[in-house]
Symmetry: C2
Subunit: 384 residues, 2 copies
């Protein structure tokens, strides 16, 4: 519909396209207070080139949070501040994949991450997932066949928790298997875990980083984009000290004096003042409520044969249409009524996805969401 | 001395190392007003994913400024907002150089840019400069010999105006010759022009972008790091619409929703409120005064045989020691007295620079600068 489905929303539609944060959720007053504090007491740090690793207090806050909430202990050299998870992924691909290497991704995976990886001179290989996340057996097979073909798989990019676009979460058993395969095949795992804090029912399984007990194989990407505000462009990366050091002191970061000092110090003030945790609790309720509304509406309005995932957190429900109906055909009809969504193909690096569509419940207004699902149900019924 | 000479300063020294902005120059109150405005009136844009090209009013302001001050007319699609000049360079190398391509740089060139380029799978080739900037004849010869060797030179990275580290400015004749060579050899020129606004005597020659009348061969990188605050991480890139479009809508920018929305909106408010132009005038006086102090001190304290550049703007003086004295030997002695500086080698991609050192006048306190030069003179005299 638009140039980029991450861009500005078209008007006059039922926009199921965008899997953004709820724009009414920004804690503007607290962010303003944090900005004023940063510019009052830390202007010399916030406005200048800074430590490549990022503000020390923000790193300390994050490490304490991970220890408290996940019993994940990180040494100071094992976490640094990025310009968001996307920048962390870009840096990892730039530094840790050689030209011609294979980057493994999930099928489906976040389409903008696929575009980001495609800007590098690497090949993509997609491994399917199911309701329990990435299928470890399929990953093993693909790694075997790549090895036989003389290809070098350098990285696995995975979103194990409340995945974008599928909403599924990788089971603990699968997580353990992925870590084992990574060790066996010398694979670096880039774990995009930006939705972890936004769980609605129970806390998700341990992160891949935590399961990698030798601390050798996983770089975990975190972000303030989903739990605070994407416009800050502040995130973090954690993993083996050597890899973290290489990323934090890469040419781009050294030249820029760390990732986004002003935004990082504003984020630091926000966190250290104690604003983040209550905000995350509010977000969980907000998004859980939205998820419930979407799932109820789907239950009520979808004809038999349509299937969908039931995410325990995050922003996304993934819908599967009954054969032979494709999402493109459905979109063509839906668009006439002002209803837009992302069809499956964009999320598949090696084809497929024709019968899927993504329904994010994070951005669209609650009443529009219900109207949208009702309309979707009518259209599917008419097209079947 | 430290991990990175862009990092935090070591204590108890006469630090001639850092070519940063003057940290006492930050317009903190005006930036705070700009931040408050952005978060009061534009919070939805500043805190969310945004237009990949950057805030429209900031782009409009920059295009009007270029037209007014340089008679450089740019179409809306020919300029976008970056996360600083370094991010612009990183994006250009990532998208416009293929693995194995040659990236041409000046000898000397900004060492952090060399590190940034080296993070990509390309080869570096260095072309010498003199008092009139990059030597066009040497560039022509190098391009010929690369062509004969079957190498593909993809990019030329140049800092034509008040260069870091040399302080020299490319003459108009040389600029024209570079554009001609770029057309002849199919070379893309990345023009890092971040010091242009900080001229002390007369305005520098037209930018390479302006001289490229077909608007095909030059991507010009600008920044708010030198004229406002590096901690914002906001800059811009201008050039052919197709190239700009490719950069602005690359995977990283599309995934992140544009470069640093919050900082970009704060910058927009700062500019649109009319704070930038008077601030640049103050900076010019400040840095001109510092340059004069440094040049006078050098005149007074350097022994015969030492040569240095006389920059018409920017942050840097480049010193050449008489043979056989090397900057490393001088640094060893100087460090004992707490005087530190960057020696030449770091700035040369293919070796050389042993007899050079960089003396930035932008960061060091005025009185320390004079004491430093006095000490340097004594040490050189003793070592000759």
């Amino acid at each position: 519909v638009t140039e980029s489905i991450q861009g500005a929303e078209p008007e006059g539609t039922l926009p199921f396209v965008y899997g953004h944060v709820d724009p009414t959720s920004f804690p503007v007053d607290q962010l303003m207070a944090a900005a004023t504090e940063a510019l009052t007491y830390q202007s010399q740090q916030a406005l200048n080139y800074g430590d490549e690793m990022g503000p020390a207090a923000l790193r300390g806050y994050l490490r304490a949070k991970l220890e408290r909430q996940e019993a994940l202990a990180l040494a100071p050299g094992e976490l640094f501040i990025t310009a968001g998870a996307s920048a962390g992924l870009d840096t990892a691909v730039r530094l840790f994949a050689q030209p011609g290497d294979v980057v493994l991704v999930e099928a489906p995976s976040f389409h903008e991450a696929l575009a980001l990886i495609r800007d590098h001179p690497v090949k993509l290989a997609a491994v399917p997932l199911d309701e329990d996340g990435l299928i470890a057996g399929a990953l093993a097979e693909r790694l075997e066949s790549l090895a036989q073909a003389g290809e070098r798989p350098a990285l696995l990019y995975t979103i194990p928790t409340f995945q974008n676009p599928s909403g599924v979460t990788m089971s603990l058993v699968r997580r353990r298997a992925v870590i084992e395969l990574a060790a066996q095949f010398g694979l670096l795992v880039v774990e995009d875990d930006v939705y972890r804090d936004l769980y609605f029912d129970e806390a998700p399984p341990p992160s891949l980083l935590q399961l990698d007990q030798e601390r050798q194989r996983v770089i975990r990407l975190g972000s303030f984009s989903k739990v605070l505000a994407p416009g800050l462009r502040v995130g973090w990366a954690a993993g083996p000290a050597g890899r973290i050091r290489r990323m934090a002191y890469c040419g781009l970061m050294t030249s820029g004096g760390g990732a986004n000092p002003l935004a990082a110090y504003v984020t630091e003030r926000f966190c250290v003042e104690g604003y983040l945790e209550p905000h995350i609790l509010r977000l969980r309720q907000n998004y859980a409520d939205r998820r419930d509304i979407l799932l109820s509406a789907l239950e009520l309005h979808m004809p038999a044969g349509v299937r969908w995932t039931e995410p325990g957190g995050g922003f996304f429900v993934w819908l599967t249409l009954p054969q032979p109906l494709t999402a493109q055909v459905l979109l063509r009809e839906a668009a006439k009524e002002g209803l837009t969504f992302a069809t499956g193909e964009a999320f598949f690096a090696e084809g497929g996805g024709e019968h899927h569509l993504r329904l994010p419940f994070s951005t669209i207004e609650r009443s529009e969401m219900v109207r949208g699902v009702e309309l979707l149900g009518e259209l599917i019924r008419a097209l079947l």
